[in-house]
């Protein structure tokens, strides 16, 4: 966005489209007012979304669209503010501050193989990174998406997955934690899929987003492959509030997740990543 006040004062955007992803998760496409432009470099960053009367929450950007400009947010209803956001309908207003933070490192991934490991709603911040890669496909090596969810009913971005599979430009493996007989996909933890990959240390960039415990095991698998910590990027989630590293709610050791992250390379946060209660 181009207005400086949009970082501190919510700007009123309007819901353009609403898509029900799963029983409790919705993707909203929201449009800025005419004087605000959308930042195309938003993959991995987040906005503070304000459901007026309910509260403000940090939500990852799950897509950026142009003509007309729109930003996508995929939101799971877990509290008062997110419940209010997921109930918004096209034409209704949402307050937006942002975008905040540092996103996925496109430059570090260029001319390398890219492995994206997503767990559950962690697919939302990885989606725009994957879209960027696909838009410049020849600039990247082999691209693999490993996506784990709870059950087949919890699968997000079904149409995207279908389109990406049909385009055959990337390798995709989807796995669920449990499934009835008849589910044609894989069953098992997403981190198990990493062990089945053939990765060449020094030629791989890994981007991981999901529950932190899942990321710990994903990191362990990637390190087992010999991938360097500086080539492993993680998107962290903490209690982001101000978005400017001033309020301290999202402090993570010497970092503020809202400002210095949410995407970090493993080597930067190695001292903190395995610490409890940080």
């Amino acid at each position: 966005m181009n207005r400086p006040e949009s970082k501190t004062v919510p700007v009123q955007w309007r819901v353009h489209r609403r898509r029900q992803e799963t029983a409790d998760t919705v993707t909203l496409e929201i449009r800025p007012p005419a004087e605000v432009s959308v930042d195309p470099d938003s993959a991995g960053r987040f906005n503070m979304l304000y459901a007026f009367g309910a509260g403000e929450v940090p939500i990852s950007i799950s897509g950026v669209l142009f003509g007309p400009d729109r930003v996508m947010h995929t939101i799971r209803a877990v509290g008062a503010a997110t419940r209010a956001l997921t109930r918004l309908k096209p034409g209704q207003v949402v307050g937006v501050r942002g975008p905040f933070g540092c996103g996925w490192p496109e430059a570090a991934a260029r001319h390398r193989d890219v492995v994206l490991v997503a767990g559950g709603l962690g697919m939302a911040p990885l989606r725009p990174a994957l879209c960027r890669i696909l838009s410049k496909r020849s600039e990247f090596g082999r691209v693999t998406l490993l996506f784990g969810v709870r059950t087949p009913d919890d699968l997000l971005f079904r149409k995207d997955l279908k389109d990406w599979q049909a385009a055959d430009e990337i390798d995709i493996a989807v796995t669920v934690d449990s499934a009835p007989v008849g589910w044609p996909g894989k069953v098992g933890l997403v981190t198990r899929l990493i062990s089945q990959l053939r990765l060449t240390p020094g030629k791989v960039c890994a981007m991981v987003c999901g529950p932190e415990i899942m990321m710990r095991f994903a990191v362990w698998e990637l390190l087992q492959h010999g991938i360097d910590p500086e080539d492993i990027f993680l998107s962290l989630e903490r209690n982001m509030q101000c978005g400017a590293g001033l309020c301290g709610h999202c402090q993570y050791g010497r970092f503020f997740v809202c400002k210095d992250g949410p995407v970090f390379s493993l080597d930067r946060i190695a001292d903190y990543f395995y610490l409890r209660e940080l």
């Binding site: 799971r76 767990g119 559950g120 934690d177 007989v181 069953v187 062990s195 999901g210 095991f217």
Partner: protein
């Protein structure tokens, strides 16, 4: 399929073992294949074989009263299928079924246990590698049981 010996030499379970060791273990192995939908194991049967999948996909399944059949895990090329052969009572705990056409190397469990008993050093090396696979699976199963993708619970209370 490549010769069993060549396949085993390149599989992590046997990788790095000397030729004689691989030869001893491969003497307990033969080629196996399963058609889509064909049962590989049935819960409660004697665990007299285990497999390394060369191609295709298998499902580990459980029959749960009131819930029907549930897929616990899918296994694909390179994965080891079967661990109940290791310890008494040598009974299978789950069903396994071919989801697609499977080519595999099957091991005679009695022969393998006897080989390990007669060659304790080799037996130790094999058990160590098997333990690594099992720990890996156990950790994955623990995470699955934690339901990590469920919505966060406020205050850590249900």
């Amino acid at each position: 399929m490549k010769s069993i010996k060549t396949f085993l030499e390149n599989h992590p379970l046997f990788d790095g073992l000397d030729q004689e060791a691989v030869h001893l273990f491969s003497a307990c192995a033969d080629e196996a294949s399963f058609s889509p939908g064909e049962p590989i194991y049935r819960q409660g049967d004697e665990a007299d074989r285990f497999y390394i999948l060369c191609s295709g996909e298998a499902t580990l399944e459980a029959e749960s009263p009131g819930r029907g059949r549930i897929v616990i895990e899918t296994l694909s090329a390179g994965d080891v299928l079967g661990a109940s052969w290791l310890f008494p009572p040598y009974r299978l705990m789950w069903d396994a079924r071919a989801r697609s056409r499977i080519q595999a190397v099957g091991f005679n469990a009695r022969c393998l246990r006897q080989t390990c008993d007669e060659n304790p050093h080799l037996g130790y090396l094999l058990m160590k590698r098997f333990a690594q696979i099992m720990i890996h699976r156990m950790q994955a199963a623990r995470l699955q049981s934690l339901d990590i993708y469920a919505p966060p619970v406020k205050g850590g209370k249900p």
